[in-house]
């Protein structure tokens, strides 16, 4: 397919697009956008406001504005309830899961996108089927495996489990991204003297950056948020992660609402930052990877 052929239909289009005085589809009346969006925004933001309110106002206050402001809840949760330690553990788990998932899925995704090999269909089917396997229901055998590997109470067990359950989707997404990079680019790099690896690194990898950021952040957010693996595989309190810490705040005999709110905000801040950062890429990432993959 030549460039000229490809651009031919564009040339056929009239330079002036017809408008019959009516709105195009993506120009609905303003109120039809702002009214429902505003209502939905209230539903979205009130819970966030509520947790902020509990975290910042003194215990016993029923004021609807967090004033006078206090940080006693944060201090208590971070120091007395060891959220500082949990936070550190969660960062390790999140980053390790991010790197392992991206690396392993990148290798696998490249194979799926660029090669035809005998077990490819079976492998794709396995990826799909794994989506039906409930991680929560495999806790007991997973526990036994990690006990066998002497990895109970080490963050490694959680990192492996999180990575494994992130892999199928990540691989499908990444192979979709790679398929979107024309193969001819790679072949051109080979002609210029690159081998497969350097060709991939120089030509494909830079183009994959948005997709990799989306997949990596997805893995990070998931492992940051996930709760059961850490709850089951880490019995030592020093090794726990943030969601488990939150859960223990909730199931305490007398729930300290201020502490719970402060812990919740500590849990939310990193993911909200990551999310604000990747939001745009995530949408393009999904449309490039998931739908065509």
């Amino acid at each position: 397919m030549t460039v000229a052929e490809r651009s031919a239909p564009v040339a056929d289009e009239p330079p002036q697009r017809p408008r019959k005085g009516r709105r195009a589809w993506d120009e609905a009346p303003r109120w039809q956008i702002y009214l429902p969006l505003g209502i939905y925004l209230v539903f979205t933001l009130v819970p966030f406001y509520w947790i902020l309110l509990f975290a910042l106002r003194p215990t016993g206050s029923t004021s609807l504005v967090p004033w006078p402001m206090t940080f006693e809840h944060f201090d208590k949760v971070w120091n007395d309830r060891s959220f500082g330690t949990y936070f550190e553990n969660s960062v390790y788990v999140g980053l390790a899961t991010l790197f392992m998932t991206t690396l392993v899925a990148l290798a696998g995704g490249y194979a799926l996108a660029r090669f035809d090999f005998r077990i490819k269909r079976a492998f794709m089917l396995a990826l799909l089927c794994s989506q039906f396997v409930p991680g929560a229901l495999l806790l007991v055998p997973l526990f036994q495996i990690f006990a066998e590997l002497q990895m109970i109470n080490s963050l490694g067990s959680v990192i492996i489990a999180e990575t494994v359950f992130q892999l199928p989707l990540s691989m499908i997404l990444i192979s979709g991204f790679i398929r979107n990079v024309p193969y001819t680019l790679e072949e051109a790099a080979w002609v210029d003297g690159c081998n497969r690896f350097t060709g991939f690194r120089v030509v494909v990898l830079p183009l994959l950056r948005p997709g990799l950021i989306a997949v990596g952040s997805f893995a990070f957010v998931h492992s940051w948020n996930h709760f059961l693996f850490a709850l089951m595989f880490l019995s030592n309190q020093e090794k726990q992660t943030i969601p488990v810490g939150l859960n223990s705040l909730m199931s305490a005999d007398s729930v300290d609402l201020g502490a719970l709110a402060a812990g919740g905000i500590i849990a939310a801040v990193p993911v909200v930052i990551v999310f604000a950062f990747i939001q745009k890429w995530l949408i393009t990432g999904f449309s490039a990877g998931a739908v065509k993959g």
């Binding site: 397919m1 490809r6 017809p18 019959k20 589809w25 993506d26 120009e27 609905a28 956008i33 925004l41 979205t44 966030f48 509520w50 947790i51 509990f54 609807l64 392993v104 696998g108 194979a111 660029r114 090669f115 492998f123 794994s130 989506q131 039906f132 409930p134 929560a136 229901l137 495999l138 806790l139 055998p141 997973l142 036994q144 495996i145 494994v164 359950f165 892999l167 398929r179 979107n180 024309p182 497969r196 957010v221 948020n225 996930h226 709760f227 089951m232 969601p243 939150l246 859960n247 705040l249 909730m250 719970l260 709110a261 849990a267 939310a268 999310f275 939001q279 745009k280 995530l282 999904f286």
Partner: protein
Amino acid sequence: MAQAAAVAKQPAPPRRRRGSATPRRLPYLLIAPAGLLMLGFIAYPVLSVFYYSLQNYNPTKPWRNGYAGFDNFTRIFTEDPQFWDTLIFSAKWVVVEVGLQLLFGLALALIVNQTFVGRSLGRAMVFSPWAVSGVLTSAIWVLLYNSQTGITRYLADMGIGEYGTSWLSDTSTVFPAAVVADLWRGVPFFAILILADLQSVSKDLYEAAEVDGASRLRQFLHITLPHLKDAIILSTLLRAVWEFNNVDLLYTLTGGGPAGETTTLPLYIANTSVDAHNFGYASALTTVAFVILLFCSMVYLRLSKFGVGGDK
């Protein structure tokens, strides 16, 4: 144009290049790490669950351990009313959650797909609960539903609901209360998936429809929906499986209570294995859940004619 682009984007899988440094083994080497991890930590555990489902296995009662045949399964279907209760609740939970998420998620995606002032900020804000975990969602809604200082108290002041009730401990309100909490986090995710697919609808189609004088409703029904069909089918399916399997939210929000009112099948399984240590029976329950899930998915894909028709 779209067709040409698609052709360009999907090169024929290359044959092995004679004389190049690429051995035939390369693809296998590349998928090996992923394959081994999945074999060891998904496939093997699944098989061992099947194995344990035929065993009496309870580490606290070792004298009873051993091969049990299909005893566990007969017990599930004939003597365990809790299995049926939790299964029915799971079905109700999944259908209500996924149905409402689809409805609101589609609406939300259509809205934020328009161009308007403050769109990126609006998107970031309405999508933000997606990043929040099940446990944190529970924490937030526990605060909101708290009978003393939650929003319920302020609503009661305005005449909505009764003063001092906790919606999570009342059997008549716990289900809607839990549904709303999960929707808060679930709708944005659905909206993101649908929005992603909306971006790929060709604008030309709408313009052509404009010229032909099609109303916006007709454009939605005849252009947007058919285009979204496969994405909707797939995302509802994944979502349903996920909502079925997910225990984070209900475990921490209601703990399955009050009075077992919100215990899903996976929650029941987790209780059976972790609290009651009855691994054999829990494995049998898991096997049944897995089969039900797989069967429902197949039926769903068949009925919805996934990948059939549509003019993508």
